[in-house]
């Protein structure tokens, strides 16, 4: 895990590539409390909801994936704020690239805070999910 004084504006976190498979989405929906056919697990239901590309990955699941990018980098309790906009439906079984860019560094109330833009993108220039995160790092 990096120390606060080791990071600079413009530094990148990631990128990492992930895929949300049909089974993983189905498993997530069970945990989430939305089991059974729905627009996340069933192509027909998805089509009725206007999802032409098949069932989609739940926004909360993409959020969990993006949180992992940050906790893998900054530690398990490092996230202070994760604020995401779900811009486009995220398809199953497709390569998803997760990356963050450090946009602000500041010390506040005794904490060393790193703010970053965080994005989940696709291979064709899709910006599926975007937002902001604030992570706290240790100072030396």
């Amino acid at each position: 895990m990096p120390y606060y004084d080791e990071v600079e504006l413009g530094d990148e976190i990631g990128p990492v590539e992930k895929v949300a498979t049909d089974d993983e989405v189905s498993n997530f929906c069970d945990v989430w409390g939305t089991p059974g056919p729905n627009r996340f697990t069933d192509a027909e239901t998805a089509a009725k909801s206007g999802m032409k590309g098949g069932p989609i990955v739940p926004g909360i699941m993409t959020m969990a994936m993006m949180a992992q990018l940050l906790t893998d980098w900054g530690g398990p309790g490092s996230i202070k704020d994760l604020d995401l906009v779900f811009r486009q439906p995220v398809p199953h079984n497709r390569a998803l690239t997760l990356a963050a860019t450090i946009t602000d560094l500041r010390e506040e109330d005794g904490e060393s805070l790193v703010e970053c833009d965080i994005l989940m993108t696709g291979t064709e220039g899709e910006r599926y999910v975007g937002g902001k995160a604030i992570v706290t790092l240790q100072s030396r």
């Binding site: 939305t34 699941m61 969990a64 309790g77």
Partner: protein, 149 residues
């Protein structure tokens, strides 16, 4: 004139309580396995203690998963047929440990209209505060849903 939105404005200022939510090892296991979480502090007591915690902790988005289980009242927006999850925010405030009991308190924050690639949309925004059995706030969660024409 601006678009006049019809919905239940009496919901403003009312807190909707839910819970308790029992956070068991199994709850954390299932959340981890469904998202591919492999951080040591989320997997075992040993991993969490090595990271400075008193025991195993839940991943930071667990409350976002739980919030779907909070039954919120119908805002009765007279617009659109389908509702999509438009955004989510979580501000973790304190660790959530295995064996914690969480309660939730939600209120309606905002309802507003805008236009986008999908045409006119009406956004409904809810805020939920999760607290543990000691009354300590562990997370603030904000969700927004877009209703489309």
């Amino acid at each position: 004139m601006a678009m006049e939105l019809e919905y239940d404005r009496s919901l403003y200022g009312i807190e909707h309580k839910a819970g308790p939510f029992e956070i068991s090892n199994e709850t954390i296991d299932r959340a981890n396995s469904s998202t591919g979480e492999a951080g040591a502090a989320f997997l075992s007591d040993e991993g969490a203690i090595a990271a400075g915690y008193k025991g195993r902790i839940a991943p930071p988005t667990l409350c976002c998963i739980l919030v779907r289980q909070v039954a919120l009242p119908d805002v009765k927006v007279k617009f659109g047929k389908t509702s999509m999850h438009a955004g989510q925010r979580v501000e973790p405030k304190a660790p959530v440990y295995a064996d914690d009991q969480l309660t939730a308190s939600s209120h309606l924050k905002d309802v507003y209209a805008k236009t986008g690639r999908s045409g006119t949309m009406v956004f409904v925004v809810w805020e939920t505060t999760f607290s543990n059995q000691n009354g300590e706030v562990v997370a603030e969660v904000q969700e927004s849903f877009a209703r489309r024409e």
